[in-house]
């Protein structure tokens, strides 16, 4: 036996006992079809890399984070401002989460379009669906641990959805929150879920998922016309892998590694330039000056819930997710054979396109649609100065009424204010004084009736102010019969002239 170096001797000592060299070498160098060495096949490994990044950054964050309702928000601020690079660590974890959710969805889309879920990889897909659910579970519980106003109200909405489950809804809420309300026990439960339960399951499912990829082989590049048949597929795949194959490492693996490295670098760059998310205002339900929004993976749900008619809320909230998950689980069992290439699967391509467009549209709407009144407008958005130039005392009082009765919270003027109702910069060209008075008093459409909240003098003043809101060169609306009804003579009151207006 030739003499070995000390390092080789140590290696041999361990290898004799562990015997890992064989299985690892088998896994690393097993032949795969040449066509699988593709840049399209790198998303799964990138998702796992991001998971590892989340584990490492999460462990470091947990050194400082305090999972108690009273201390969590403060500990996030300590991380941001008192621990060296604490903010960067939070940013890495937050951006790692965003990237992980995105990459998991991209990976799933690619697998679906490449038909990689077909025989014999049905279970790989099924575990993948579990991994998707767990990833979203991580994103949601992580949002709760960033315990600020968004977290507080996001959790409130989450549990009120859970509470709609028939019979056991209340019990489920108790289990989730550790009581009937969001309190000290709640954060401990979500910390448990985010740090132990879900990551443990995630790791287990991910290892099984990867094990099956190694055992069943990486999906070959789908060729139009090469159909999957249960009787022949395994033999065909082995022929491809052995006759036109390359060893997985380095043939395909280097692309995985390069892409994973690029993704980690992208996370690092995003974290550096865009920083951590929040924390926003303190999670105090007594603070009502807040406009909470969920994190991006859940914005589309936010939109859909906002658009749902009340009667459909419970059915959609409780049934739609189950149907969607059943559909995902059913995919490989319904279409386990046949064509893999997306060029011959129009329904699959259209389904992906439809879901992507709908998702994008709902996410965009959630970010831009003025769902709520602008609650600060009445006291913070000034009336444009030139709107009040030459205004009469009554018109000025009307402007005060407009602000103080919070009309501004729904109706913008000069581009400032709420957008629930129409902007009123030229309302006098659309409505006569009588119409304005009627609308203010009785409401109608989306507008509440203010008749009981305004004194007659306030209504007079408000209408006087609104009737000045028209362009200088455009005559305000008027009722042609008004002069007759007021005085019996048409000449007594001429129609209002175009000049003399303020805006």
């Amino acid at each position: 036996m030739p003499r070995m170096k000390p390092s080789q001797r140590i290696y041999a000592w361990f290898e004799q006992r562990l015997q890992l060299e064989g299985p690892i070498a088998d896994a690393a160098f097993h032949p795969v079809p040449r066509t699988t060495a593709s840049w399209f096949y790198v998303f799964g490994s990138a998702a796992f890399t991001l998971f590892l990044l989340q584990v490492v950054t999460g462990i470091l964050l947990a050194l400082v984070y305090v999972p108690s309702a009273g201390e969590a928000w403060n500990s996030l601020n300590v991380l941001n401002h008192q621990i060296p690079l604490g903010w960067y660590l939070r940013a890495l974890h937050g951006w790692g989460s965003n990237f992980m959710v995105a990459i998991v969805f991209i990976h799933m889309t690619q697998v679906f379009l490449f038909g990689a879920y077909k025989y014999p990889r049905e279970l790989t897909w099924t575990f993948g669906v579990f991994l998707l659910i767990l990833t979203l579970g991580m994103a949601f519980t992580g949002q709760v641990l960033r315990f600020d106003q968004d977290a507080y109200w996001g959790l409130g909405i989450g549990v009120s959805m859970v509470s709609r489950v028939p019979l056991i809804g209340g019990g489920l809420v108790h289990i989730l929150l550790g009581g009937p309300i969001i309190a000290g026990a709640t954060l401990a439960r979500f910390f448990d879920l985010h740090v132990f339960v879900i990551p443990g399951l995630l790791l287990g499912f991910a290892l099984l998922h990867i094990w099956m990829v190694l055992k069943l082989g990486v999906n070959e590049w789908p060729m139009p016309g090469r159909l999957v048949r249960r009787s022949t597929y395994v033999a065909e795949y082995n022929r491809l892998a052995h006759e036109d194959g390359i060893p997985f490492l380095p043939g395909a693996f280097w692309k995985d590694l390069a892409f994973s490295a690029a993704i980690v670098a992208a996370v690092a760059v995003c974290a550096y330039f865009f920083g951590p998310s929040g924390p926003g205002g303190p999670p105090d339900p007594a603070i009502i000056q807040t406009n909470p929004k969920p994190d991006f993976p859940f914005l589309w749900i936010f939109s859909i819930l906002a658009y749902l008619p009340p009667a459909l809320e419970t059915p959609v909230i409780l049934i739609a997710p189950i149907l969607a998950l059943l559909a995902l689980f059913a995919v490989p069992f319904v279409a386990g054979e046949g064509e893999k290439s997306w060029t011959r699967r129009p329904v699959a391509v259209l389904a992906v396109a439809l879901i992507a467009v709908a998702w994008g549209e709902f996410t965009q709407l959630a970010g831009t649609t003025p769902w709520s009144p602008h609650m600060e407008a009445w006291s913070s958005d000034p009336i444009p100065v030139h709107y009040l130039r030459n205004a009469t005392p009554l018109v000025r009082q009307g402007a005060n009424v407009f602000q103080e009765k919070q009309c501004r919270n729904c109706h913008s003027i000069g581009g400032l204010g709420g957008q629930r109702g129409p902007a009123l910069d030229d309302v006098a060209t659309r409505m006569t004084r009588d119409q304005m008075r009627f609308k203010v008093v009785t409401g109608g459409g989306n507008m509440p009736a203010f008749g009981k909240d305004l004194s007659p003098a306030e209504i007079e003043a408000l209408v006087a102010y609104l009737s000045t809101l028209h362009p200088a060169n455009e005559r305000p609306a008027y009722t042609p019969s008004r002069p007759y009804t007021d005085t019996g003579s048409p000449a007594a009151t001429p129609p209002p002239a175009a000049s003399g207006s303020t805006p």
Partner: protein, 271 residues
Amino acid sequence: MRPAMRPGTRLWTHFAMRLVALLAAAPLALLGGCHSAPGYPPQSEGPPSSITDFATLYSQNCAACHGRNGQDGPALDLNNPEYLALVDDASLRKWTAEGVAGTEMPAFAESSGGMLTSAQIDALVAGMRKAWAKPNAFAGAAPPPYAQAKSGDPHRGEQAYKASCAGCHQNSPDEQITNSAYLALVSDQGLRTITIAGRPDIAQPDWRHDAPGGKLTTPLTAADVNDIVAYLGSLRNPVALTQAPAQAVDQPAVSKKRQTLSASRAVGGSN
């Protein structure tokens, strides 16, 4: 047994290690100036009750009616050194905290149903003084007292109004300050304050007419101001006002309670 590593693999591993080291080092190099990094987070906003900065408080709570810089808003210009010299801190704090009954000025103190703590109201009062008050705002002159001491004489007030005010306030009835709807929404103290301190932002002169728009040289006396306010107060006509909108919309939208409230508001207005 397989060979432990193929020849090409070793070179490749070497390259990959270099690449990983480079990628790991790049962001660390960027972090040289940690607090100046573009992603370095701002301080978290505390609860709204922790804000005591005057500019922020003013812009969030007052600017909508009193104007962005205390001028040119529909409501009284707070950025008027004469007004700030006329009003004392206790009154300013009272109006801010409790509002002015019968007008659009709401109560801002938590104790009165508003959103501001007493520390924040103190900050507003002190901030207005610091930002906008000027020493010797009246240039040595002694203005009539801020608060109305005794009720004035409306008949004398009418004469004084015609002599001193009607020169400018001569538009059609709807457009002048004698409009009963206007008077229903403004308090006696509000009328008095504007008469004494003026509103320079809209060319309303002070009691001396010492402002753009001022035409007379004789200042109003304290009695004149009392009487003019009493005269304007006497023009409030609650009955006509409470009936007008109900007729216009052809339905009884105004409750009894509101009518009573409005009437008492129009008659009272003791601020």
